[in-house]
Symmetry: C2
Subunit: 317 residues, 2 copies
């Protein structure tokens, strides 16, 4: 009776209990897209799923969303209507999640709007280029170009980066690349369930297979997305899988968030250890019974508050 399915705990929020109630299906046997055309259809279907949510937040009276281009990269600038005076010279850069393949275009604003509203920060959401047309390093190049452009306008000490899942890995990669090019480091980073190892290496790829209700398996789409993103660079390239990067020459203070049912629990705690081994200030928060990207739950609001508190501390607010 090894590893019986975990019961749903009564001490988590009712919303989380409800979310965990349906049976979890793993995507391992689903046919992954095989051609560029099939991938584009796959992405289109995913975007359609999120369209109503995106439409709702876009019409929120509490934020303005401006689509523009910075350093050749499409971005959306999300500004809360009630931007506090002491945050007017601060900027957060969001690199969205979606396995390096999904959630581009209009869908890229979702995490950014959430943080702009909860934290009352101005946020720039980077609509970085993605596979199937643009594999690694296009996403890193785009993120770096935007960061470099903001350095002049804001100064590194007033910039924070954040991202979830692929966007968490990408936030680390952009920062590493900036460091290695001699650019000043941002004030801090928030890495929410970062995809730090694109290899299927890490206990939680196994222990939370069929347990995580959102990212149920590496063996379906996820592994295929890793393939078309990394391309010839391979999964051990430190900007593809930042768990393999060298942190000894410096990295900004970072907050990392995950849950005990997160398929990327191990990706998160391994990256946290790498930072600590290099004596980088790094906070870890693991939420009981929570899964990959549980931000819509009440527990997600707690996680957001930890992140906002971390940004404010490192912005010296």
């Amino acid at each position: 009776m090894s590893n019986p399915k975990m019961p749903i705990p009564h001490h988590i929020s009712q919303e989380a209990q409800d979310f965990l109630t349906p049976a979890i299906t793993t995507a391992e046997h689903d046919p992954a897209p095989q051609s560029t055309e099939e991938w584009l259809s796959f992405v289109e279907a995913s975007n359609a799923n999120y369209a109503p949510f995106v439409e709702a937040v876009t019409s929120s009276p509490d934020v303005t969303i401006e689509k523009t281009i910075i350093a050749g990269v499409t971005v959306r600038i999300i500004t809360p209507k009630t931007l506090p005076e002491n945050k007017k010279d601060k900027i957060l850069v969001n690199l969205h999640g979606g396995g390096y393949v999904m959630l581009g275009g209009d869908q890229s604003i979702m995490e950014a709007v959430g943080m702009a509203l909860a934290g009352q920060f101005k946020v720039i959401s980077v609509d970085y280029r993605m596979p199937p047309h643009h594999p690694f390093p296009a996403a890193v190049d785009d993120g770096l170009a935007v960061y470099q452009s903001l350095l002049t306008e804001y100064g590194a000490e007033n910039i924070g980066l954040f991202g979830a899942s692929a966007g968490g890995g990408l936030s680390a990669a952009v920062t590493l690349q900036a460091r290695d090019q001699g650019l000043p480091m941002p004030a801090c980073l928030a890495l929410n369930t970062p995809w730090s190892d694109l290899n299927k290496i890490g206990d939680s790829y196994f222990s939370n297979h069929g347990v995580d209700p959102v990212l149920s398996s590496y063996d379906g789409w996820l592994g295929h997305m890793a393939d078309i993103y990394a391309g010839e660079a391979g999964f051990y390239h430190p900007l593809v899988s930042p768990v393999y990067a060298d942190y000894s020459t410096g990295f900004p203070p970072s907050i990392l968030i995950t849950g005990t049912r997160d398929l990327l629990l191990s990706c998160t705690v391994r990256l946290h250890r790498r930072l600590r081994e290099a004596n980088i200030e790094a906070e870890l928060h693991v939420f009981e019974a929570m899964w990959h990207g549980f931000m819509a739950m009440p527990e997600g609001q707690q996680a957001n508050q930890e992140t906002i508190h971390f940004f404010e501390k490192h912005f010296k607010l």
Copy 2:
């Protein structure tokens, strides 16, 4: 193919890989001791297992070990031969692990000697009373009596508490009881894989059943130890299961340590969240592929270094 057994990762230390190699057996079908006599024989057999190790550390030229009585409680004072000048007025109190039943007597010094050597601290190891003769609250009473006595000699700001497993839960319980009796709080706590919930509640009691090579199952001895320790107080008493305590009226800064294969991973991260919800300074460290009390591994030395760094910071050294 849900939850296939986790492979042994190549990136952890060779010692840890070797430790994880043998097949893991769960204790759930082993007959637990049923009578006081059977429990005492069980404890005696456990002590005999550790005797050679205890003899080796006791004869170490690097520490002195003095057995004495403080406030009616048997303790052992471990002093490193090279106690640094700036640590002479500091004292760490260790509440040993062993499921509230095992590792008393001469065996109680093991964690304390490790910390005295690694951290160059003077450590008082509390040989608190345990079941089958002395259930809850004897252990809390003994820990509190020693702490209260040290307050006069050292001052709260020069005292740190630490413990692993049951000793982690007990360290929290003693601190809560001290707080509620109006005593000043110690400088900080180190809670290594604390047994914060004696109920079988928490994802890792299920996900790491048969996975943790040290504490393989709740369903064997562990649950029975919970029974004979808690007695009539029950598992929801906040000093029995400190995850149910109220932290809103204050608690010292705490560092918590666990691993992804730890049966008490959820106990650890849940207690961390309870502290953070009350805005208590609390650091969490989760070590990939590590199990319940992995301190003998190279990864354990890293964990020890985090703990020592935390003590030194809060002692303002």
